[in-house]
Point group: C2
DNA sequence: TTTACAAATGCAACAATGCTGCAAATATAG
DNA sequence: CTATATTTGCAGCATTGTTGCATTTGTAAA
């Protein structure tokens, strides 16, 4: 799957900034912050363009935001999930800062007060990844 | 439980800003943002003092931060929970913006990759509260 | 291919928030 | 009451979020 294919599939214009962001996210196993995405070419696009492009891609459900407990934000490509499951869970390694999607691998239950309705559930698991837990 | 008692219990000096923040949190059923805490007397303390006081209270485990999916932050008093349960779950009403603690009322499970370790789990349930779901 | 238009981009600018250093004020232990 | 460590207020800077507007660009239709 290429950046261009993703954009076509979502009927979005094939622009430089969009291609760049999607390409970087495709290259990465883990979710990336805005800064991490920009890293290879920090000055390639204007700050505001970057900001607006991320916003658009999120609104169009191409990518999703992950808000960590330290208030920082990372972005990841959306999978082809059914969107039936309202639980969005991610793992964040406190040492190497990597973020992993736990889609389909987690379960959450809560007893809400009467008449409360759940729309979405956002979970961030803070911990250590295998590499950081057992540094060899 | 008064603000002074809480401060004594944590061996913290009994200062104006601390008392003010704790008093406002004690008065409220739901978690409050910095702005919401300040609301009654917006100019009573300097912006930086407020910022640093919240940070201190959090570091001393008097209050905890709740980071919502829109990146905003709310604060709530810590209960007397055993701290055995690493899951911190809160409900956020997307309409009236209230935040409720779901402590002890939720359960989370995830299949992590081998050798990954969980330290803490932060959950935000986005939805509608009873009042906003069934406006009478 | 050219044209036309909506959309995307870059730039300027401002708001909100996070954060640090330092001097003055203050809480509390003795 | 005094001494001292802590807290506070102020000035100021960094980062991030956001908007308006003029210019450029992608794409669909002529």
């Amino acid at each position: 799957m290429t950046a261009e294919e993703i954009l076509q599939r979502h009927k979005l214009k094939n622009t430089g900034c969009r291609k760049f962001i999607l390409t970087e996210l495709l290259r990465s196993d883990s979710a990336l912050s805005e800064e991490e995405i920009k890293k290879p070419f920090p000055e390639l696009f204007d700050r505001v363009t970057f900001y607006r492009t991320l916003k658009t891609l999120e609104e169009q459900h191409v990518i999703h935001r992950i808000v960590l407990h330290d208030n920082s934000v990372k972005y990841a490509l959306n999978g082809h999930h059914s969107d039936q499951n309202p639980v969005h869970a991610h793992f964040h390694c406190g040492k190497c800062d990597e973020v992993l999607c736990l889609e389909g691998k987690s379960h959450f239950d809560a007893e809400l007060p009467a008449d409360f309705v759940t729309r979405e559930v956002f979970v961030v698991v803070e911990g250590l990844c295998a590499g950081c837990n057992h540094p060899s």
